[in-house]
Symmetry: C2
Subunit: 470 residues, 2 copies
Amino acid sequence: MLNDKVKHELISIVGADNVQDSRASLLVYSYDATPQFQSMPDAVVAPRNTDEVAEVLKLCNEHHIPVVPRGSGTNLSAGTTPVEGGIVLLFKHMQDIVEIDEENLTVTVQPGLITLDLINAVEARGLFYPPDPSSMKISTMGGNLNENSGGLRGLKYGVTRDYVMGLEVVLPNGDIIHTGGKLAKDVAGYDLTRLFVGSEGTLGVITEATMKLVPMPETKKTILALYEDIEAAAEAVSSIIAHRIIPTTLEFLDRPTLKVVEEYAQIGLPTDIEAVLLIEQDGPQEVVDHDIEKIAALCRDNQAIRVDVAKSELEADALRTARRTALSALARLKPTTILEDATVPRSKIAEMVRAINDIAREYKVDICTFGHAGDGNLHPTCLTDVRNKEEIHRVEQAFEAIFHQAVELGGTITGEHGVGAMKSPYLHLKLGDEGIAAMKGIKQAFDPNNIMNPGKMFAKSERKRVVVHT
Amino acid sequence: MLNDKVKHELISIVGADNVQDSRASLLVYSYDATPQFQSMPDAVVAPRNTDEVAEVLKLCNEHHIPVVPRGSGTNLSAGTTPVEGGIVLLFKHMQDIVEIDEENLTVTVQPGLITLDLINAVEARGLFYPPDPSSMKISTMGGNLNENSGGLRGLKYGVTRDYVMGLEVVLPNGDIIHTGGKLAKDVAGYDLTRLFVGSEGTLGVITEATMKLVPMPETKKTILALYEDIEAAAEAVSSIIAHRIIPTTLEFLDRPTLKVVEEYAQIGLPTDIEAVLLIEQDGPQEVVDHDIEKIAALCRDNQAIRVDVAKSELEADALRTARRTALSALARLKPTTILEDATVPRSKIAEMVRAINDIAREYKVDICTFGHAGDGNLHPTCLTDVRNKEEIHRVEQAFEAIFHQAVELGGTITGEHGVGAMKSPYLHLKLGDEGIAAMKGIKQAFDPNNIMNPGKMFAKSERKRVVVHT
């Protein structure tokens, strides 16, 4: 609990309406979208502008109070769970589009802006912001920046990081810095911009960001390829890329995922086959026509039993939406859904899918797999029940085996969900002790009192995800 | 000078042939392509592999000996001048292409590899590595990575940073770390990959890099647009981008530059007009035809007096080569050529060109301007004579005014040449004291003994470029 002096100072900075510490409001911000993590904050604070953020950080730094910046809390790595208490920082007063610059093709946003609102606003001007995390209807840009969010269009267009041109950041000592700018080229100093992107709120608070936009693609087409064999689908993915075609989207859903998605979305997806690939290409009409034709042929060459081109944008949109609902659909089946994002080089997709299935069998757990196959970014998703301690233990072991396997194949423990509190015990698998030591040096330099989102990124112990904090 | 003990330890690590300290060999590595900077190293060391780099760094760290990693020394910011003596690290034994991976579209290289050798090797497989710094015939990949090199194709394709997927880096303490990988998505920890890119050898030594490749564009076309008015040319640049066309290359040359380039290259460039734009588009045939037609129309709408489409790849290549020779051509005219790379948002190009001309008049100095107009990355180039102290003083003042102007327009002091020793006195203009303090924290964390390329990035004093160190 905050002492009265600190509470009053917070109120004097942001106003009484913007400091909450009732049991009910603390409870609301005690968890995020990650199963099994909960921990109460001491207060919820909503600054109204950058200067107030700076004042709050200075105060917290002085009193060594943890600060957890939070968007909509859609992250899946317990990145915004206040595991060490302190203040949850909300951005409900900072959700504007500051500027759309049509000459420089940039948009400048505040952290509280909903991703889809950004996308819709720029598309209305004929411009395109490609990163499209599945949670984009509710996720905020601040969250996307701190997590370096991916999305379905990442294969062709990259991730959030690839669109950040400049940031305004408040450091733990209250300093406000500006990195980058509306500049296609800028080598003045270290790349602080990209250091903050994906740093999960552990180095400072992003209060404004200038993002790159690209011209809106002229058109797009969507196809669905059906497979009787999961590995054939995976081989098709490798084959498409190896034939020098980079589709916008190249998604994979296995049979169990298909079944629940169809039950949930009811759009006529086949449920009696082993896997589908949902593939989209955008660009100029001729290119799209040509690529889609070639992709369809490559799918057939790799044993697709059927390839359907969506007949209309309406049908295509239904397919995309169905894919985006995969997590929600799966979450209905069992009390606990644990979705992971082990990622491998795309040439290793078939091998990784095979390994996941072997591991699920070995530990006798129920794993569905879907995800961004073209990126090598799979989402093995375990349907389980946290109350069944014996099963949960096996789930833990299975995921640990999956992470090991991903790293062994040249992959990583997390492609887009982040490390947070949940995956910090596994980070050394990817970075080694030397890599983690280098990261700790950076953390120490920016945040010597460890107030910024403590308990994230760096593991304190071998604690696994299933410990519940209350 | 190194003491005998250290020298013998170096020899025991890399072999006697790979440690040089004769006066002649030290002299060769006492300067780079930057005018007016020279400083003698104590030894020149060429490790044969990553482990030897680690041993050398450990030794130097123990004895607080400066280490300056150096490729071909083509940088223009005194980034590889050993301003505090110590060891110049050469990569002549580490210049291999380790692997071209056609399934994942990556190439893995050692730091000593020449950029053009990489480009040619991947193009032979139908793959494309877009970054093309003007010095690519001689520059090394290690240099490109440390400087985050740009190039002519940066407008459409981005810079070196945008193609780095993973690095092997030796830290000053001798730790070897691996960042990233052949992964389209990876959010396991801070973005160390991009922190090292552009860090100018001040944080560690890059010993291997995995770079992203893209499919080779089907075709390309080049046009030359002639202008009687510099600002009309700049307006055409803004107009093309604002019409949602992103050409591969959008280069600008003013009249004085054109004149010397034509004298040097003799390919029939017009020399009686005020400016030309050299514009290239690549991609599928239909797209290129369509874009080039639209670009030509926009150039005419913006007062181009003539627009010529190159009739053959031979002719196009002659134009590109001529552009790349601009610096060499200018360097023949006067004893001293100082080329800068102040960069602005592309919408500010016209304003910046006007400001440069005003500043040149005000300080009575001779400035030609060419550069990557589409990126807002201009190269105002001053032809002068370092022996004329009075003129050089005015040149200094003019460039300082240019940097101020660039930052005032939302730009930066360096778009692609780096900070090095030369621009460190100006870095605070872009980053402010708070930004520099953040950078210093990172430097201190990685390199507490300040052995890595000391005297770069961080200004010790207000020393300007024209002081010669011998």
